[in-house]
Symmetry: C3
Subunit: 404 residues, 3 copies
């Protein structure tokens, strides 16, 4: 018996086995099934493949190196500094033009600071005192500029004074900067954001955001705008405006602006169609409502040494606009695996659809009972008693069963 | 015949065809199949959908812009510098508060260096000499500070000396820095890591790591801790401690600490549930065992010009802690395509399960032989001789076959 | 009737239902189907699983922190500066050794600039003038160094002059720098690119590009090369050469070079097999053909203050090589979900293959007509008139149909 089974198994290897189907002449279910099939097909072709490009393998890991360069000068006339001209070496920090750069548009200058003792600013609560005992020697002033010496300095006929501190003296005046003169001229700055982006994994040939042109004068004279989407030269003022901010307010308070470059490349098309899309957004606006640091500023110092070899410095609290160039990309390329997976899942859905229609056919329509009998053929060996009810008997005549 | 075939094909378009099933009253296999089905269902629903959120499309490309700000002062009293107070403009490099910032906690100062000739440090093997011939003029000292002039300088009654070099003189003393006084005060620094992260592709609305509160005093006074997970203000000392390092050792030797911010967002839930998770780790600890640069340090110089217009500089070898704020994120959003794919693959598995149970039914159980006959209905046209053995004959009565 | 149906439904729960198959003894189709099956299997096992590692979940989000350090000195002898020795504090900008660093190899020095009035460079078209009227007072010179004062300065017996400007005077000579002496020595620099990369999501244990060795002398003396792929020390000259550029040209004009580190890790294998692959490429070469900034350079200034407390500065236009260390990685780990998805899609394809073979069997081969009759069993209830043609009648004997 077993041997015959193996023989049968082997023979059957090169037979073609195909499911036996029952044709149910129920137009209702038939049309229902066609509808299911068509909708699945529409989803697969229309949505998955045409809209979502499901046949592509996408890569979002983008390596980019950003080169930025600023041009332009600004003229200011302030009480502390007098007439002064600012060029890139003065207002661009850091100078080397990476993807994050800062343009100083306003500043508080505290010149000639020396290591000495002086009264702490009276704007700092922790420095207020009535007697020397309030200033514990050696204790740092919380959120202050130095370390207390232990003395409480008062102007005559004042009860309240401020602690004396060891610090860079005189301390910075905590006055909010008035409207900045630099920003008046800042609109003439250009950000020559010359970007170089490369795909590592999918995109060997390097792509640029600079229009591939040999027209020198165009690249020298153009300014980025909706009309010139591939011109790499931006006006600072326009960027701030595109980010939806007011330039004057940003220039005096400082802020952070993100320049987002999106590459959305379909590598199945020509590389020339893979172009950048820019978007500008203010990154620090959320903070505006928050106590901690509305705007953007930081302190740095220029160090000098006088004839006696004593160090002194000019402390600069720089307000300005920080620009973060953020390159983001997605590249899609045809790949057999996601294609197969999407097709496969679609086919599997068809099976689910058939199962659903079966339920309708076998349990919901009028003659479901009859079809159930046809679909399911109950078999039992003579060795056991039949459990099947006549209606379930299917298309078996007794002699067939007995025939075994 | 062909015409009839096409007619049949057309008619059948709106018939519903359903597989004909054989009901094998074998409870063994039946239960086995149910078990298989249930386990697949459990895997699909429990693991894929509930645990792994297989219905979501996830995006890991996160654009982030980090703003950091430090506060605090430190007081030192060293032989080279005397009493000195350090504020942010002194110890934060670079000053502009990006995602990578360095806090100087220890330093070797070499003041008043001028371009001149002087003996190379005797700690450098390549500079040791016995006669002038050992110092080839114009040759740079390997891992040294200058270019050899060709002379070998010896203290009197010494056989061995060091080459004279053209360099910034005097050269830096290669002495390991003693315990740093700055770090004594460094624990009062705050890193006000005010971060701004944005999803480009999936997450238009910007998310912050700052608790959305209007409580000013909270954000001014809070410190990040397990109790205050959304407070953006960190104590330097705590960060180092959380990174599992000893602050004193790091402060004197320097090191790199990574502040990792993880966003793991389920965009199907409310945005307010999308919160950052911080983790702190030391990034340079591997190097501790390695010869090349345990710790972290770099050299920079402050340039001065004396009355005669001659340049001189103060060389500073800065030891300190570099902090790398690394933002990493994952956002998941419901998407029909992965959902279908996962369901589809599950259904396909069911088919595999059925195939497996068929094998059991047809070849492994006692009456497999009988079921095989039932499942496979052998058909042959009268035109060819039957190959089928009686046992494989299935449920066909001769007249049926002959009837064609 | 319905009740019987439900009874049948319940009973059938623990029956095993298996599709009834028709064995078509058509070796043609049988072999065709086997071929289809085998090719799908080959694709699934060979391509998807073995080649493409379809059983793995891959993660491309890599967090990396890069530490770089340069060593070496250079000696120059120029007219402006005389004999001068350059060390890391002089030519590395910024000094703190992050993933982007710049090595100054050439420079234009403009010493002793003061805020004053002087003629604009005559290389700037906008500054050329014939009479004072050509220089509108207060107007900034386009692409120039200052703001016009309104006067037109001419050498005697010249018709054409240049506008007087308020600026840092004297202005920089726009002369292209001659071949740079620094680069002559630059080949002795080492870039000690000591990198620390970490996987956040998939790779908890940190990985390094430094060979895990305790051999001090090796790591001190080695240089990266194809023979020493895990030595973290690079010669600047070699990097430029590997990037396919000429060092002398780059050193004098400047440029940007990308050092790409690729981690392609199979986390199912030992971590020790997860090693970095380096590639070097020039990132700014595209610009070479473009008008805007061939090469790479930027301006910065050193600020001094004289005895009278007047600021003056030395402007430096620095040409040099910027290095961008870009870490990119992919980690794959076995994951049940993609495995199931790929298997599932393969199985679904099998179904498609069967469907295709059915078409052949039922409509393309000689006896298709006969097989169609066998595969499709037409059933109709006595209540409606049979539409079926005899050939489509299938294997039903009248008494069966009448029997219901």
């Amino acid at each position: 018996m077993g041997q015959v089974a193996w023989k049968g198994l082997f023979l059957s290897l090169f037979d073609y086995k195909t499911e036996k189907y029952v044709i149910a002449k129920s137009k209702k279910v038939g049309i229902l099934y066609r509808v299911v099939q068509l909708s699945i097909l529409a989803y697969l072709v229309g949505w998955v493949f045409i809209v979502k490009k499901g046949y592509q393998d996408t890569d979002t890991s983008l390596q980019s190196s950003v080169i930025t360069k600023l041009k332009g000068v600004a003229f200011t006339n302030t009480s502390e500094l007098g007439e002064r001209l600012w060029d890139v070496a003065d207002y661009v920090i850091p100078p080397q033009g990476e993807n994050v750069f800062f343009v100083m548009t306003n500043l508080i200058v505290t010149p000639n600071q020396r290591q000495a003792t002086c009264p702490e600013s009276d704007r700092i609560p922790d420095a207020l005192c009535y007697k020397d005992g309030d200033c514990m020697a050696g204790e740092a002033v919380v959120a202050g500029n130095g370390v207390k010496t232990g003395r409480c300095l008062k102007d005559r006929d004042n009860i309240r004074g401020t602690c004396e501190i060891l610090a860079w003296c005189p301390v910075e005046k905590r006055s909010k900067p008035k409207y900045s003169p630099i920003s008046a001229a800042v609109v003439v700055y250009d950000v020559q954001a010359k970007r170089e982006t490369r795909w590592i994994s999918l995109f060997p040939t390097c792509r640029m955001n600079v229009l591939a042109t040999n027209n020198e004068s165009y690249l020298k004279s153009c300014r980025y705008s909706t009309e010139h989407p591939y011109c790499p030269i931006f006006l600072l003022g326009s960027i701030v405006q595109w980010a939806g901010s007011d330039f004057q307010e940003m220039a005096s308070e400082g802020g952070v602006i993100g320049i987002q470059i999106e590459w959305n490349c379909d590598l199945d098309k020509a590389a020339s169609e893979c172009n950048p899309h820019y978007s500008f957004s203010r990154l620090d606006n959320k903070f505006a409502e928050k106590p901690i640091s509305s705007g953007y500023n930081f302190r740095f110092a220029k160090y000098y040494r006088d004839a006696e070899g004593i160090d002194y410095r000019t402390l600069i609290k720089a307000y300005g606009i920080r620009f973060d160039v953020m390159v983001n990309g997605k590249a899609g390329k045809f790949n057999i695996i996601p294609t197969i997976i999407n097709i496969g899942s679609g086919l599997a859905l068809m099976g689910a659809g058939a199962f659903f229609c079966d339920l309708v056919l076998l349990y919901l329509i009028k003659k479901s009972n009859f079809y159930r009998g046809k679909k399911y053929e109950e078999v039992k060996s003579s060795s056991r008693k039949s459990l099947s009810s006549p209606t379930l008997n299917g298309n078996q005549s007794p002699d067939q069963v007995g025939g075994l």
